[in-house]
Symmetry: C2
Subunit: 220 residues, 2 copies
DNA sequence: CGCTATCTGATAGTGAGACTATCTATGATG
DNA sequence: CATCATAGATAGTCTCACTATCAGATAGCG
């Protein structure tokens, strides 16, 4: 397969493919002559993975590079690789809002209450603290009343994710499953949450027969 | 309050505040003389809201502008405003992957199965279809096996969200609650899901006493 | 063999997005 | 009255993700 065909197959422009190769996201084609290279199904898969992570997951080129580096290290202890993948996936914010310390304590408290076996310094714990501090900062500090409901939901989701990953781990790389499940799974979850909002408020709307309070009440 | 104090209060640089005013995110200060204006607590709140939506929620300036336009329209039917807010919040992707049609049917089927009162053309339904098509495209089409678990989780989350919004709707604007709850809530949910992944795999890890398959097994 | 489409590899340019710098004229403050 | 901050305007910067253009070299068809 030559680059033009790869481009047609995936819908990615030829110069963009070259760009990804330069950026180290995609391995170069196998040179069959000084100015001809051939690409295979692995390239197609990889390219689709890249676009999925970028378009759907919203990752930047450099984040994708880090993620793929983790995906491509079959040696090294598995949990290290997964940790690196998670780290690369987690968007790091440089901001330090006011109530961050307090929010961190809230997160630690939640983790303790749920009995979760997680490091309180995990980047995701920090990300959560930042989000909670933002709620606080705009006067919606009472959001933490819903945290336990969220935690219930997350436990269920995590169990499903774990089972899914375990089910097709052998197919084509464990780490890739985790990355894809995490990044694209987020997108699915967010979209579905909005649909559930619409449904929930539609029900309430019908019952009340009057436009009361509800999130996402609008049909398009 | 003058602009310097507003800047110190919120941690946003003065030229950036001016930029937001130019861009229509923030109302201008009340002019007390041709070259002095005064800002109040409303500006502080609004500025923190803007930064929260951008830094934590990842919205662009133009998305924030649309969202705030919805927040600032107290007239007009409530559900219309909420619909506009949701629309502005939903990231629209211009891509049209291959299995999109099939994915759309999968979403419609899910909605039917759950008995959700939602328009199948809702932007979030489309976003979900795009994500599912991406799973398919990289050979993980079996992800749809977890959709019902996700849906259970989302129903729970949506119920909690609805209750929360209803609880503090009077405080300071219903639409703002919805927007904040949706955008920042997403961030909380994503972070928490990762923590739950770590926990779930930690448990499995300990039980198996051998590095098996698990998402997010990494420490820190 | 000739011809045109395509390819590699390299360098430079583009357009959007989110600020940031600089400047002028003016007013605030001690 | 000296110093500092401010409004408003314009232009510049920096990053990101491409995209355009070239030169030189095949591919492969008739």
């Amino acid at each position: 397969m030559r680059i033009g065909e790869l481009s047609r197959e995936t819908g990615v422009a030829v110069p963009t493919i070259k760009y990804y190769v330069r950026e180290g996201l995609l391995p170069a084609g196998r040179l069959t002559s000084p100015n001809q290279a051939s690409y295979d199904d692995g390239h197609v898969r990889r390219l689709r993975l890249i676009r999925g992570l970028m378009d759907v997951g919203g990752l930047s080129v450099s984040a994708v590079r880090e993620v793929l580096a983790a995906v491509d290290s079959p040696e090294r202890p598995v949990h290290k690789v997964l940790g690196a993948a998670q780290e690369a996936i987690t968007p790091k914010s440089a901001v330090a809002p006011e109530g961050l310390e307090e929010a961190r304590r809230t997160v630690a408290e939640l983790v303790r209450r749920r009995g979760w076996h997680t490091d309180p310094d995990h980047p995701s714990a920090e990300a959560m603290a930042v989000a909670l501090a933002a709620f606080r900062g705009i006067g919606r500090g009472d959001f933490l009343e819903v945290l336990d409901d969220y935690a219930d939901a997350c436990e269920r989701v995590a169990a499903a994710d774990l089972a899914w990953v375990g089910r097709n781990a052998e197919v084509d790389g464990l780490v890739e499953s985790v990355v894809v499940g995490t990044v694209l799974g987020d997108a699915v979850l967010m979209a579905m949450r909005r649909l559930a909002h619409v449904d929930a408020s539609a029900r309430r709307y019908e019952k009340d027969a009057e436009g009361g309070a509800a999130p996402g009440a609008g049909g398009r």
